[in-house]
Symmetry: C2
DNA sequence: GCCGGCTGATTACAGATGTAGTCAGAAAGC
DNA sequence: GCTTTCTGACTACATCTGTAATCAGCCGGC
């Protein structure tokens, strides 16, 4: 799967949340703080389509865009990449790292323990 | 901290592993499969220095390069970024995601449980 | 029937990145 | 001493990314 940039990712988020949408609808649902012009959004949509992560159906002369890759698959790829690159592909060092850096709340710990317990049964 | 690319990251890995090193030494220790010329490595070193993630001491007309940011800090930034972007900044969804995608071995589960248990005490 | 506005396609352009060549000067071999 | 070799500095250039303008054509209002 091709890599996508930060801004492109924001466009994907919109469509993962709701699809299919027209370019104008995507622009309307994009994060306000990006301050994108409709042109910018259209460029993103074209590029993402070229990269094969979006597809569309024609509706007259408009397109209805929708994701061609599941959010879960994309997330799996990116988190796998980070894990491979920085933690030798293993999750434990990541958790240890986050714990060291105080990114783990007590609630996190409880939740993850419950999750792991469920996995073992 | 400025962002660095994939190739730049590979250079940092060399120096996080061993420092200080000259440009030639970094080139010699870089992953063979990158097929880098010494020029390429030197460009990386300059850019990383400009970005402030490397520093150097002069040794005659050569430089000895060394990391100016700890690997741990860099890793914290990048894993935080991924967590924020894809999992709302929370670790639990990441673990749940990896579990769903079979990236969690029994050994991982045991290790993480032990780690969490230690954290609580 | 013409005009303003909307559509996707194409083009523009600056900054980042990957990869490397050129240059001026020092050092080292001979 | 002269040539080869090595150094960092600077330059080059294609691709990717973020951001947007231009273009050609269709559609809906009047």
């Amino acid at each position: 799967m091709e890599r996508i940039g930060d801004a492109e990712y924001a466009v994907m988020e919109v469509l993962w949340d709701e699809a299919p949408l027209t370019a104008a609808e995507v622009a309307g649902r994009a994060p306000r703080d990006r301050g994108w012009s409709i042109r910018t959004v259209k460029t993103m949509l074209s590029r993402l389509t070229a990269k094969g992560v979006l597809s569309y159906e024609e509706d007259g002369r408009r397109y209805f865009y929708r994701p061609a890759v599941a959010r879960d698959d994309y997330v799996a790829q990116e988190s796998g990449r980070l894990l491979d690159r920085m933690f030798g592909g293993r999750l434990t060092p990541l958790v240890a790292h986050l714990a060291r850096r105080d990114r783990l709340s007590d609630r996190d710990i409880e939740e993850i323990e419950a999750l792991l317990k469920a996995l073992k049964s």
